[in-house]
Amino acid sequence: MGDPVNDDARELTLRWESQVKKGVLEFIILLRLRSADRYGYELITDVKRAMQIDVSEGTIYPLLARLAKDGLVTAYWDEGDGGVARKYYHITDRGHDILDAMQESWLELTFAIQRQLAQGTRGESNRRWSGSR
């Protein structure tokens, strides 16, 4: 039988992790599209592998439709390997602009979090240090 306290902590951490990953899915999709045009299957399998998530692959299509509706991507059909036609997504100029803004925002956020983490670590060391005196 597992340790209930650790199991609970693990469940909370996993739930938080899922929320974070869910929030950045569109950002990741745009990042993947920046380097090359990609089709839905390729995108979602890349995202699943890179982010280590388990998600129904079909969920990418409403997301891509939303990005297309917002003018961040366009799509075209092309024949891929084995004669299967695939719908490729291409990031638009507007998509690039939004992605740049997202990236800036992401860097600011991660920097702020890093700072918090560093302060937390220093505070912890100070407390430990003063406690040992």
Binding site: E17, S18, S56, G58, P62, W77, E79
Partner: protein, 225 residues
Amino acid sequence: MSRAGAGRAAGGRSGAATPLALFADPISQRLWTSYLVEVEKTLQVLPTAQRRELLHELQSHLLDGMRADGAAREPERLLNAMERLGAPNEYLRPLVAERLLARASSTMHPAAVLTGMYHDAFRSVGRALATVGFSLGYTVVALLVAGAVLKPITPRTIGVFREPDGSLELNLLLGEFAPSVTLGTDVLGYWVVPAFLATALVLYVALTKLLPILGVRSDVEIRPR
């Protein structure tokens, strides 16, 4: 699977949705057709062009999923690809609802507004039903506790009674609201107090343990690995 068949199945925006001799195994053929029927059913509220486009995209996705799958048998590869893609009525419903609401907003047509609202509500209908179920459950808990408290005050109207015809009847607060009703023989007597309290406790614990299922569910469901 024939190369030409695959091309026809997902071959652009104007092709038919029905696959033409795609699979060697008739089981695969049936699985494929039934999945696509489900997709078509979910997407039926969308304009034909949009529906066909998405249908072809999903066909293409399934074929890619099958090609990447390591299973030996064709039906198994197809089933695995379908499972990874997900249930159409789950992953497509947000898209359908979103498009319908957008259309309703732009056309202002009452029918479009109603359809959009219906589909949007359907996304959370399970949660709404669960909320109603939980509310009823907690009401029963409250009634059981109230019955246990009131039994010593109105012993003839609260409890489990055997009617003259032999049937058993459970009464909780009837005596308070309908004092003129005559009840049969009191089967449990004052044992009904611990029985009600124990039932209330079990029900309360069970409902409360299940309460997290009411948590907000987003359109994108990510399962931790």
